[in-house]
Amino acid sequence: MEALKQELKEKIIAVLNLEDINLEDINDNDPLFGDGLGLDSIDALELIVMLDKDYGIKLVDPKEGKVIFQSIETMGNYIKENRTK
Protein backbone atom coordinates (compact mmCIF):
# COMPACT_ATOMS: atom_id res chain seq x y z
CA MET A 1 0.00 0.00 0.00
CA GLU A 2 2.81 2.47 0.82
CA ALA A 3 4.41 1.74 -2.53
CA LEU A 4 1.10 2.24 -4.30
CA LYS A 5 0.53 5.57 -2.58
CA GLN A 6 4.02 6.72 -3.49
CA GLU A 7 3.39 5.66 -7.07
CA LEU A 8 0.10 7.59 -7.12
CA LYS A 9 1.77 10.77 -5.92
CA GLU A 10 4.39 10.50 -8.65
CA LYS A 11 1.77 9.86 -11.28
CA ILE A 12 -0.48 12.70 -10.18
CA ILE A 13 2.40 15.17 -10.32
CA ALA A 14 3.41 13.96 -13.77
CA VAL A 15 -0.03 13.48 -15.35
CA LEU A 16 -1.51 16.70 -14.02
CA ASN A 17 1.63 18.79 -14.68
CA LEU A 18 1.97 19.95 -11.08
CA GLU A 19 5.26 21.65 -11.79
CA ASP A 20 5.76 23.37 -8.42
CA ILE A 21 4.77 20.42 -6.23
CA ASN A 22 7.14 17.83 -4.76
CA LEU A 23 6.35 14.33 -3.50
CA GLU A 24 6.84 15.45 0.12
CA ASP A 25 4.24 18.19 -0.35
CA ILE A 26 1.43 15.65 -0.69
CA ASN A 27 0.24 14.01 2.52
CA ASP A 28 -1.81 10.84 2.32
CA ASN A 29 -4.89 12.47 3.80
CA ASP A 30 -4.68 15.91 2.21
CA PRO A 31 -7.69 16.82 0.11
CA LEU A 32 -6.74 16.66 -3.57
CA PHE A 33 -9.41 19.09 -4.75
CA GLY A 34 -10.43 22.51 -3.51
CA ASP A 35 -8.02 23.97 -1.01
CA GLY A 36 -5.70 20.98 -1.01
CA LEU A 37 -3.75 20.50 -4.21
CA GLY A 38 -6.13 22.81 -6.01
CA LEU A 39 -7.11 20.30 -8.66
CA ASP A 40 -10.13 21.13 -10.83
CA SER A 41 -12.78 19.38 -12.93
CA ILE A 42 -10.46 18.66 -15.87
CA ASP A 43 -7.95 17.07 -13.46
CA ALA A 44 -10.73 14.87 -12.12
CA LEU A 45 -11.51 13.68 -15.66
CA GLU A 46 -7.82 13.05 -16.26
CA LEU A 47 -7.64 10.94 -13.08
CA ILE A 48 -10.56 8.87 -14.40
CA VAL A 49 -8.51 8.19 -17.55
CA MET A 50 -5.52 7.28 -15.38
CA LEU A 51 -7.57 4.74 -13.38
CA ASP A 52 -8.62 3.12 -16.62
CA LYS A 53 -5.24 3.19 -18.35
CA ASP A 54 -2.97 2.16 -15.48
CA TYR A 55 -5.22 0.08 -13.21
CA GLY A 56 -7.96 -1.20 -15.53
CA ILE A 57 -10.73 0.48 -13.54
CA LYS A 58 -13.59 2.01 -15.51
CA LEU A 59 -15.64 4.64 -13.70
CA VAL A 60 -18.99 4.90 -15.40
CA ASP A 61 -20.41 7.65 -13.23
CA PRO A 62 -18.05 10.63 -12.83
CA LYS A 63 -19.77 11.40 -9.53
CA GLU A 64 -18.09 8.31 -8.06
CA GLY A 65 -14.82 10.17 -8.54
CA LYS A 66 -15.77 12.67 -5.85
CA VAL A 67 -15.48 10.01 -3.16
CA ILE A 68 -12.57 8.09 -4.65
CA PHE A 69 -10.40 11.14 -5.34
CA GLN A 70 -10.76 12.68 -1.89
CA SER A 71 -7.16 11.95 -0.97
CA ILE A 72 -4.22 9.72 -1.83
CA GLU A 73 -5.42 7.42 0.97
CA THR A 74 -8.93 6.96 -0.49
CA MET A 75 -7.56 6.58 -4.01
CA GLY A 76 -5.05 3.96 -2.86
CA ASN A 77 -7.71 1.95 -1.04
CA TYR A 78 -10.07 2.03 -4.00
CA ILE A 79 -7.39 0.97 -6.46
CA LYS A 80 -6.16 -1.83 -4.21
CA GLU A 81 -9.65 -3.33 -4.06
CA ASN A 82 -10.71 -2.80 -7.66
CA ARG A 83 -7.66 -2.97 -9.88
CA THR A 84 -7.64 -5.42 -12.77
CA LYS A 85 -4.08 -4.68 -13.81
Binding site: L16, N17, L18, E19, G38, I42, L45, E46, V49, D52
Partner: protein
Protein backbone atom coordinates in the same frame (compact mmCIF):
# COMPACT_ATOMS: atom_id res chain seq x y z
CA UNK B 1 -20.16 55.44 -35.57
CA UNK B 2 -17.68 58.20 -34.82
CA UNK B 3 -14.27 57.12 -36.00
CA UNK B 4 -11.88 58.37 -33.35
CA UNK B 5 -8.14 58.14 -33.78
CA UNK B 6 -6.62 55.07 -32.17
CA UNK B 7 -3.09 54.41 -31.00
CA UNK B 8 -0.69 51.57 -30.37
CA UNK B 9 0.25 51.90 -26.71
CA UNK B 10 2.72 49.04 -26.35
CA UNK B 11 3.86 45.99 -28.26
CA UNK B 12 5.67 42.75 -27.63
CA UNK B 13 7.05 39.91 -29.68
CA UNK B 14 8.18 36.42 -28.76
CA UNK B 15 10.25 34.34 -31.15
CA UNK B 16 13.62 32.59 -31.40
CA UNK B 17 13.99 32.22 -27.62
CA UNK B 18 13.62 35.95 -27.12
CA UNK B 19 11.01 38.34 -25.72
CA UNK B 20 11.04 41.91 -26.98
CA UNK B 21 8.94 44.61 -25.32
CA UNK B 22 8.51 47.97 -27.06
CA UNK B 23 11.57 47.29 -29.15
CA UNK B 24 13.86 46.19 -26.32
CA UNK B 25 14.92 42.68 -25.39
CA UNK B 26 13.56 41.91 -21.94
CA UNK B 27 14.38 38.19 -21.87
CA UNK B 28 16.26 35.62 -23.90
CA UNK B 29 17.80 32.18 -23.56
CA UNK B 30 20.24 30.01 -25.43
CA UNK B 31 18.52 28.06 -28.23
CA UNK B 32 16.24 25.49 -26.58
CA UNK B 33 12.85 23.80 -26.98
CA UNK B 34 9.73 25.90 -26.40
CA UNK B 35 8.69 24.11 -23.18
CA UNK B 36 12.05 24.98 -21.65
CA UNK B 37 12.12 28.54 -22.99
CA UNK B 38 8.58 29.24 -21.81
CA UNK B 39 9.30 27.81 -18.34
CA UNK B 40 12.41 29.98 -17.97
CA UNK B 41 10.47 33.05 -19.09
CA UNK B 42 7.72 32.21 -16.58
CA UNK B 43 10.32 31.95 -13.81
CA UNK B 44 12.18 35.07 -14.89
CA UNK B 45 9.06 37.22 -14.65
CA UNK B 46 7.95 35.53 -11.40
CA UNK B 47 4.49 34.86 -12.69
CA UNK B 48 3.52 32.57 -9.84
CA UNK B 49 0.61 30.91 -11.64
CA UNK B 50 0.92 27.09 -11.48
CA UNK B 51 -1.89 26.63 -13.99
CA UNK B 52 0.62 27.80 -16.60
CA UNK B 53 2.15 24.32 -16.65
CA UNK B 54 -1.16 22.72 -17.54
CA UNK B 55 -1.49 24.79 -20.71
CA UNK B 56 -0.59 23.65 -24.20
CA UNK B 57 2.15 25.48 -26.10
CA UNK B 58 -0.21 27.85 -27.92
CA UNK B 59 -1.80 28.97 -24.67
CA UNK B 60 1.60 29.33 -23.00
CA UNK B 61 2.78 31.52 -25.86
CA UNK B 62 -0.32 33.74 -25.82
CA UNK B 63 -0.31 33.85 -22.01
CA UNK B 64 3.34 34.97 -21.86
CA UNK B 65 2.76 37.75 -24.38
CA UNK B 66 -0.35 38.98 -22.57
CA UNK B 67 1.45 38.82 -19.24
CA UNK B 68 4.32 40.98 -20.45
CA UNK B 69 1.97 43.61 -21.89
CA UNK B 70 -0.73 43.63 -19.24
CA UNK B 71 1.18 43.28 -15.97
CA UNK B 72 1.59 47.06 -15.66
CA UNK B 73 -1.62 47.85 -17.48
CA UNK B 74 -4.15 46.10 -15.29
CA UNK B 75 -5.60 47.72 -12.22
CA UNK B 76 -6.98 44.75 -10.30
CA UNK B 77 -9.17 46.99 -8.15
CA UNK B 78 -11.46 47.88 -11.05
CA UNK B 79 -13.00 46.43 -14.19
CA UNK B 80 -10.72 46.48 -17.18
CA UNK B 81 -12.62 46.49 -20.44
CA UNK B 82 -9.76 45.26 -22.63
CA UNK B 83 -11.01 43.18 -25.56
CA UNK B 84 -8.96 40.27 -26.90
CA UNK B 85 -8.59 40.06 -30.67
CA UNK B 86 -6.35 37.16 -31.64
CA UNK B 87 -5.47 35.25 -34.77
CA UNK B 88 -3.02 32.73 -36.16
CA UNK B 89 -2.35 30.39 -39.04
CA UNK B 90 -2.31 26.90 -37.54
CA UNK B 91 -5.26 27.14 -35.16
CA UNK B 92 -4.70 24.50 -32.43
CA UNK B 93 -3.21 22.02 -34.91
CA UNK B 94 -0.15 21.26 -32.78
CA UNK B 95 -2.39 19.96 -29.99
CA UNK B 96 -4.85 18.46 -32.49
CA UNK B 97 -2.05 16.19 -33.74
CA UNK B 98 -1.23 15.16 -30.16
CA UNK B 99 -4.86 14.32 -29.47
CA UNK B 100 -5.24 12.44 -32.74
CA UNK B 101 -2.19 10.33 -31.81
CA UNK B 102 -3.88 9.36 -28.54
CA UNK B 103 -6.84 7.86 -30.43
CA UNK B 104 -5.04 6.36 -33.42
CA UNK B 105 -3.88 3.21 -31.67
CA UNK B 106 -6.99 1.17 -30.87
CA UNK B 107 -5.03 -1.08 -28.47
CA UNK B 108 -3.94 1.95 -26.50
CA UNK B 109 -6.98 4.19 -26.79
CA UNK B 110 -7.05 6.69 -23.95
CA UNK B 111 -8.18 10.11 -25.19
CA UNK B 112 -7.12 12.73 -22.68
CA UNK B 113 -9.64 15.40 -21.63
CA UNK B 114 -6.78 17.70 -20.58
CA UNK B 115 -5.41 17.53 -24.12
CA UNK B 116 -8.81 17.69 -25.84
CA UNK B 117 -9.77 20.96 -24.17
CA UNK B 118 -6.83 22.67 -25.89
CA UNK B 119 -7.89 21.51 -29.36
CA UNK B 120 -9.59 24.89 -29.85
CA UNK B 121 -7.53 28.01 -30.58
CA UNK B 122 -9.67 30.33 -28.45
CA UNK B 123 -8.82 28.46 -25.23
CA UNK B 124 -5.79 30.76 -24.93
CA UNK B 125 -8.21 33.71 -24.77
CA UNK B 126 -9.97 31.99 -21.88
CA UNK B 127 -6.63 31.53 -20.10
CA UNK B 128 -5.74 35.22 -20.50
CA UNK B 129 -9.26 36.31 -19.48
CA UNK B 130 -9.11 34.21 -16.31
CA UNK B 131 -5.64 35.39 -15.35
CA UNK B 132 -6.44 39.09 -15.76
CA UNK B 133 -10.16 38.83 -14.93
CA UNK B 134 -11.11 40.29 -18.29
CA UNK B 135 -14.84 39.92 -18.72
CA UNK B 136 -14.57 41.44 -22.15
CA UNK B 137 -15.14 40.93 -25.88
CA UNK B 138 -13.01 38.18 -27.33
CA UNK B 139 -12.66 36.45 -30.66
CA UNK B 140 -10.19 34.22 -32.48
CA UNK B 141 -9.57 34.22 -36.25
CA UNK B 142 -7.49 32.17 -38.65
CA UNK B 143 -5.60 33.62 -41.63
CA UNK B 144 -2.93 32.21 -43.88
CA UNK B 145 -0.60 34.98 -42.69
CA UNK B 146 -0.72 37.95 -40.33
CA UNK B 147 -3.49 40.20 -41.64
CA UNK B 148 -2.86 43.81 -40.50
CA UNK B 149 -5.78 45.25 -42.52
CA UNK B 150 -8.31 43.04 -40.76
CA UNK B 151 -6.73 43.46 -37.32
CA UNK B 152 -6.64 47.27 -37.54
CA UNK B 153 -10.18 47.43 -38.84
CA UNK B 154 -11.72 45.07 -36.31
CA UNK B 155 -9.88 46.63 -33.36
CA UNK B 156 -11.18 50.03 -34.45
CA UNK B 157 -14.72 48.67 -34.70
CA UNK B 158 -14.51 47.45 -31.08
CA UNK B 159 -13.20 50.82 -29.89
CA UNK B 160 -15.50 53.01 -31.98
CA UNK B 161 -18.63 51.11 -31.00
CA UNK B 162 -17.48 51.29 -27.36
CA UNK B 163 -17.60 47.51 -27.04
CA UNK B 164 -14.14 47.91 -25.47
CA UNK B 165 -11.94 50.63 -23.97
CA UNK B 166 -8.76 49.00 -25.22
CA UNK B 167 -8.00 46.05 -27.46
CA UNK B 168 -5.19 43.57 -26.94
CA UNK B 169 -4.42 42.34 -30.45
CA UNK B 170 -2.34 39.25 -30.98
CA UNK B 171 -0.87 37.00 -33.63
CA UNK B 172 0.01 33.78 -31.81
CA UNK B 173 1.31 31.07 -34.09
CA UNK B 174 2.60 27.75 -32.80
CA UNK B 175 3.13 24.54 -34.71
CA UNK B 176 5.72 21.84 -34.16
CA UNK B 177 8.24 23.90 -32.16
CA UNK B 178 7.98 26.83 -34.56
CA UNK B 179 6.47 29.85 -32.94
CA UNK B 180 5.93 33.55 -33.21
CA UNK B 181 3.84 35.83 -31.04
CA UNK B 182 3.24 39.50 -31.76
CA UNK B 183 0.90 41.30 -29.38
CA UNK B 184 0.04 44.96 -29.11
CA UNK B 185 -2.32 47.08 -27.11
CA UNK B 186 -4.56 49.59 -28.88
CA UNK B 187 -6.44 52.44 -27.23
CA UNK B 188 -7.81 55.90 -27.92
CA UNK B 189 -4.80 57.69 -26.43
CA UNK B 190 -1.10 57.54 -27.23
CA UNK B 191 1.60 58.67 -29.60
CA UNK B 192 1.97 55.88 -32.16
CA UNK B 193 -0.91 56.00 -34.60
CA UNK B 194 -2.67 52.69 -35.07
CA UNK B 195 -2.31 52.15 -38.80
CA UNK B 196 -1.85 49.18 -41.06
CA UNK B 197 1.66 50.25 -42.09
CA UNK B 198 2.82 50.70 -38.50
CA UNK B 199 1.38 47.38 -37.37
CA UNK B 200 2.99 45.65 -40.33
CA UNK B 201 6.36 47.27 -39.62
CA UNK B 202 6.27 46.28 -35.94
CA UNK B 203 5.25 42.73 -36.85
CA UNK B 204 8.19 42.34 -39.21
CA UNK B 205 10.75 43.84 -36.83
Amino acid sequence: MTAKKTYIQSFCSIQNNEIILNGETVFNTEPTVFSDFSKKAYQNFEMNYPKFFKMDSLSKLAFLGAEILLRKEIDATKENNIALLFANKSSSLDTDVKFQNSISDKENYYPSPAVFVYTLPNICLGEISIRHQLKSENSFFIFEAFNPVFMVNYANVLLNTKKAEKVLCGWVEYYNEEYKAFLYLVGTEGNTEHQKETVEKLYNK
